[in-house]
Amino acid sequence: MWSRRQGRLRPTVCGVEELRRRRREREAALRKARREQQLVSKRLLRDDAPEEAGEGCVAAILGETEVQQFLRQAQRGTEEKEREGALVSLRRGLQHPETQQTFIRLEGSMRTLVGLLTSNQALLQLEAARCLHELSHSEQSTVAEACLPATSYLLTYLSGHSSDFIELCLYTLGNLIVESEAVRRQLLPQGIVPALAACIQSPHVAVLEALGYALSQLLQAEEAPEKIIPSILASTLPQHMLQMLQPGPKLNPGVAVEFAWCLHYIICSQVSNPLLIGHGALSTLGLLLLDLAGAVQKTEDAGLELLACPVLRCLSNLLTEAAVETVGGQMQLRDERVVAALFILLQFFFQKQPSLLPEGLWLLNNLTANSPSFCTSLLSLDLIEPLLQLLPVSNVVSVMVLTVLCNVAEKGPAYCQRLWPGPLLPALLHTLAFSDTEVVGQSLELLHLLFLYQPEAVQVFLQQSGLQALERHQEEAQLQDRVYALQQTALQG
C-alpha cells in the first residue's frame, strides 16, 4: 500500500519545515472539525495544496466559452487524440472551484460528460471519468449534486473488468457520498450496497482499497445507523470484510486499514453487533491483533497504528456485547496472547504515537473487567510494572491504568497478594500527589481495595507518609468522603 502510493507522489519543492507546518495546520483543522461534528466534510478530505512547481501542473481557470469549446471538441472532434486532449484540458481546468462552478452552470454540460463517460471509446471514457472525479472533490455540495446523473453509470461500471477504471469510479463515488445526503438518498435505491457486495470479490488490491474507502464514507454518514448499516449487515459485505482482515500472506495493509475502519463505524453504531460476533469477528480481530504485535516487533513501519487503532476499537466495543458472555467457546476471546500482544502495541504507541495509549488501555480495561483469567495473565506475565510505567504520560492515561489495576485488585485477596509488596504502593503514593481529581479519586479506590484485601500494606503506607498524602485532598468535595474513610482505616490498622 505505501510503496504504491509513494510511486505516485507529486514532486514537491517544499522544505521539511514547511511540510511539518502544513501538517500541523491540517491536524488543527481536523481537530476543530471533529469537535463540530463536521469531520466527514469534503473540504477536509482534499488538502487544497497550493500549486507546486512543475511544468503543466498549474492549470488556468477556464471561462464559459473555453469549457464549451472543450466539451464540443471532445464530443464531436474527428481525431481521437484531439478529443482526448480536449478532455484533459477540461480536467485540468476543473481543478479550480471557479471552473467547476462554470461547468455546472453550463446547460447540457453534465449530459455531455455523461455521454462521454458511457461512450465505447475507452480513452475518452477514462478521461471523462477523471473529469467527474475532479468534480467530486469539490467543497460545494451543489457541484456534487450536479454529478447525480452520473451515479447510475458509476455503479454499473463497478461490475466491469477494467480495474483502474473501477478504482476511479469508487473514489469518485466515495467523494460524492461524503458531500451530500441527496447523493446518498439516490445511491441507496440505485443499489450501491449490492454493487459493492459484488465488487468486493475483485482480486485487485487497488480496487479493494478504493471500495473500502467508499464504504467507509458511506458508513460515516449521519443517517448510517438507521438507513445504511442494516442493509449492509444484511448483505454479504460483513463476511468479505472480515476475510480481508484475516492475518496471513494475503493480508494487504492498505486494504485492511479501510475495512477495519468500516467495521469500526458499523460496530460503534451498535446496530447489530451480535451478528458480527456470529460471523467470527472477535476471533478474526483477535488474531489480527496478534499479527500486528508480531509486525511491530519486526519493522519500524510507522503505518501500523493506522490499522491498530480501528482494530482496538472494534475489539473493545464488541467485548461489551452480552453475546460475548453467552455464546460459548470459540466466539469468546480467551487467549492470553491477546494480552501479550496488547502490551507490545502499548509499548509501540508509547514510542511512536502516545495519543493512542488511551485506546489500547480501553481494550485492556474491557478485557480485564469481568475476566479473572485475563487479570491472572497480567500478574503471571509480569505486566504490572510496565503498566505503572505509563502513569506519568497523562491524566487520562493515569486514570485508565489505575482502573485496570482496580479491575485486578477487586477480584480479591489472591490477586492483591500478587500486587503487594511491589512497585504498586510507591506508585500510588506518587499519584496521590497529582492535582487531577479523577486521578486521585481512582487512586483512592485502589488503595481501598488494597487495604481491604492486603491489610499489611497499611503499615507501609503509614511509614511512607501516606497520611500526609491523603490530607492534601481533605477539602476537595469529590474526594472528601473517601479520603476520610481511608484515613480511618489507616489509623485503625
Binding site: 507529486r10 475532479e134 453509470y153 483502474d164 474507502y213 480501528p310 483469567s373 481491604l452 468522603d481
Partner: protein
Amino acid sequence: MQLPPALCARLAAGPGAAEPLPVERDPAAGAAPFRFVARPVRFSREHQFFEDGDVQRHLYLQDVLMQVADVPEKPRVPAFACQVAGCCQVFDALDDYEHHYHTLHGNVCSFCKRAFPSGHLLDAHILEWHDSLFQILSERQDMYQCLVEGCTEKFKTSRDRKDHMVRMHLYPVDFRFDKPKKSRSPASAEAPGDSGERSEGEAMEICSEPVAASPAPAGERRIYRHRSVSELVLKPVLNMCLVLRILGCTWAAALLILNSER
C-alpha cells in the same frame, strides 16, 4: 516502557488461557463512599474519546486522496495495434490497451458484436435479443429482469421494467443501457466491424421490441453466454503481456517470446 523479556516468547507460543486465581470478593469493597465497579466500557461514534485516532485517520485519507487525484505517468511502449479482428485501434501504453480491451472487447455479444460494461448486462442482452425461447416465454410470464444488480424483480415488458427502474431505483429515464433500438433491422445484418465506430448513443442497448429472426437455427442448442472467439485467444495473450510488463519487458519483447513459443 520496559516489557518483560518472556513476553515475546509468550506471543510466539501457542494459544492458551491462564488458570484464573480464585476470586473472593468482600462486600465491603463496594461499600460507600467507595464506588468502583469493574465494567467494560463502550464508546459511541461521536464520543470525544475517539478524537485523536479519527484525526490521524483523516490525515492519512487526505494524503491518499491527494495522490489518487494525480494521474500517473504512463509508461510508453512502441506503438502496437489491437489484435481483435476488425479493430484498428493503436496504442502506445499498456494501461490504455487494457482499458480499451475491457471496454470494447470484454463483454461482447457474439451475435451482434455490441459491447457491454459488464457480464451481467451482456447476459440480459443475449437473453432478450437473441433467445427465441425468451420471446415465447415472455408472452406468458414476466421475463424482463430489472437491470439493477441485486434486484430480482421481473416484468412483462421492457417498458414496465424501465418504469420500475426509474421509480424504484431512481435511474435516469434515458439510461443508456436500456434504450429501445432505433432501426428494425435484425442483428445478424450488422457488419462485425461496426463495434469500433459505433456512436455513443447506440453503443449498448439491452433490449427493444423483440428481434424477429434469431440468428441461431431452430434446432440448435441454446447458448446463453457466448464470449467472442477472439477473446478466447486474446485473453491468455493479454495475461502473458501483463505478466511480462510486471517483469519489465517491453511489448516487442513480449511478442518475441510468444512467437518463439509457437
